[in-house]
Symmetry: C2
Subunit: 408 residues, 2 copies
């Protein structure tokens, strides 16, 4: 039984964290550090954008199976910075290693913020030295690191869970994440700008990689704020085994707990999308293939017309079908069912491909359903048994404002 | 030598047009009719959205090689209207045929407007009867039909050209188009909501189809306002041969003239994109394949982050490279060149994959280049010889307003 608890990345045993102000940003916290008392098995998902930020390139090259610390800065993405950017990312690892007495290969590095600017390493080194001294455990430390990685985020994204494994061991999972714009992660393990740090005191073997990919595919990789995949997306899971239980690779309780945490984090990112006033959940069923189901979810969630209609509670459901038609997924118009849910209302729009609406009446009902903080779009393609769920947000005046003014 | 002239769809010999108010819309013109004195060879490109509006389904099924008339209404897209929609589209053809003494198979039909509402056929029949009586030639008639097909368009989209063919024949080309939102056509000849009517008095054989696809691929199909492909996109080219010249299929002068007209129309659609304040032209060179070149153009033009940065003249050029990286096209970061043009300014950003900028200075220069009604983004991928050009527009507060309020 998974139990969601009040907690963060230092809730699992043996983890410490810090968040400080290095000066890269004008005032807010901008540098975070995570530390595990013992080397932790590391499972890392990286952006599949072909333009990869310097820290992503460095991490992918080293591909270390274990990590003892991770440093992360906000305000500068260290992307599109050429050779100098690579050197800076390596220097960040080295500086953390020096402070904590580690081998640099045991240090992960993540950056988020503006693209195309060189790092101010003087400030970063100062921040690293300060963070190393302030590492600690507890809800304050959790909150500081969660804040230090924020960019246009308006809320801290934290989640923690407790679960008893089959062998009786009680393990904890903690997670923080950031991401508000340039969000359409499609992270590949080994090989999102959402940055996520997930900690657990469970024991995991390298074989857990495949399950981690599957969990990412169903959670973080099903979030889209704007369909733009970042150069920096990275999601690190650290498992330090300090709960002293058996290997949890195949424990369904553990997988369930990790899925629960990651799904909550994914929903929070969508809900806090740049300028968002509403969370949109899209549920697709009856697809012929899993890929089709995912594609339909993404096409609906990425449609600016669907997103702006939901912002205005404009009952323009034809746009949803426009998006379904553009997805390229197999379906037959005669079998399609479409339902819009919001609050207590569940409004069937199409059944067996035919409009159910009685014109003006339906328009009012759909508007009322859309006029909620959370709107669910359910599409049954009627041709198979595969399904997918994804999360996005509405397209608002504030999205435009935030992104027309970002660099300045 | 192609000469752009003041004209519209009735500029070529033998074409008449009308635009009337049928009552589907509250006040503005909403029904247009085009007529050719002799049956014209018809080349039609349709949306490749799998959800196709009723008129598109009807036209594709009949696939008539010649057409004598086309009826088009705005205000209602006759999409997502099931069997009744199909019957209504057929009735529209029949009504025109009756009025003009034609076989219904000789009548094309196009609709644009709201999705998911039944047509008010009483009003449509009244409009058809009125339009049939008002068919005429000249700039007033051109203007009326161009206005009748508009939805959220703010300007009429017309273009005409005159060209002397190799055989000495002087031929005319006229074109009208509408399209402001739900614009990302990917029209396939025989088999884009932009609606376009293109007329010419040149003679064309059915074999011209392939060239028409190629011209559409380089013009209309390279426009994107929001990446959402409509259920209704249709582009009809009618060639009635009344110039009495030889078959112009292989005449480079004719192809050049038609490309010029279609490119102008495509640019106008992008410029008048919903809420747009700026035209964005993206030129990609040095791609390995044509497909790669087109994909990079589309990925940049569809990126909400790039579009909103250009709206705000925010020199956030990293977002352009983010989009290039997401395109999936082959390139090597070491060879990429990026230039931003606006007004008289041409600002190199990346050369051989390295930033040229001297930080603060460059930011100001890029902002000045972006602060123009037309911004050009040039990307050289440096891996091949293929290229593509496409057009889009900025993402603005007005785009959100228009689409949050559309149905109501």
């Amino acid at each position: 039984m998974v139990e969601i608890i009040d907690g963060g990345v230092t809730t699992p045993q043996g983890f410490k964290a810090a968040g400080v102000h290095s000066g890269v940003k004008y005032r807010s916290l901008d540098l975070g550090m995570l530390y595990s008392e013992v080397p932790a098995s590391a499972f890392v998902g990286y952006t599949s954008n072909n333009v990869k930020a310097a820290p992503v390139q460095v991490m992918m090259k080293e591909n270390s199976p274990t990590l003892s610390a991770v440093v992360v800065n906000s305000g500068n993405a260290n992307a599109l910075t050429g050779r100098r950017g690579i050197e800076d990312a390596i220097s960040m690892k080295q500086a953390v290693a020096n402070e904590l007495g580690l081998d640099p290969v045991q240090v992960g590095v993540m950056s988020t913020g503006l693209i195309g600017r060189f790092m101010d390493m003087h400030k970063i080194r100062y921040g690293i030295s300060r963070a190393a001294k302030e590492l600690s455990t507890g809800r304050e430390a959790d909150g500081l690191i969660a804040e230090a990685i924020m960019t246009t985020d308006t809320i801290k994204k934290e989640c923690a869970a407790r679960v008893r494994l089959r062998d009786g061991t009680l393990v904890y999972i903690g997670a923080i994440s950031k991401g508000s714009g340039m969000i359409s992660p499609h992270m590949k393990v080994l090989h999102g700008t959402t940055l996520s740090l997930v900690t657990t005191d469970a024991s995991l073997s390298p074989a857990f990689r495949e399950k981690w990919q599957s969990i990412l595919d169903d959670s973080m990789n099903m979030v889209s704020v704007d369909g733009d995949q970042s150069t920096n997306d990275t999601c690190i899971l650290l498992a330090n085994g300090m709960s002293n239980g058996r290997c949890a690779d195949d424990d369904p309780e553990f997988e369930d707990a990790l899925r629960t945490v990651m799904t909550k984090i994914a929903r929070t990112i969508a809900m806090d999308g740049e300028g968002a006033t509403k969370l949109i959940e899209v549920q697709v069923t009856g697809a012929e293939t899993k890929e089709d189901a995912r594609t339909v979810v993404k096409t609906i969630i990425d449609s600016p017309l669907v997103k702006s209609a939901i912002f205005g509670s404009d009952p323009n459901y034809g746009r949803i079908m426009m998006a379904v038609g553009n997805s390229g997924a197999k379906f037959s118009m005669e079998d399609v069912r479409l339902i819009i849910k919001g609050g207590d209302m569940e409004v069937p729009i199409l059944d067996s491909g035919s409009p159910i609406f009685q014109e003006e009446r339906a328009v009012e009902v759909v508007r009322m359903a859309m006029d909620n903080k959370e709107v669910t779009i359910m599409v049954d393609l009627g041709v198979g048994k595969e399904e997918a769920v994804g999360w996005g947000c509405d397209l608002t005046y504030d999205y435009v404002r935030i992104n027309a003014e970002y660099a300045t």
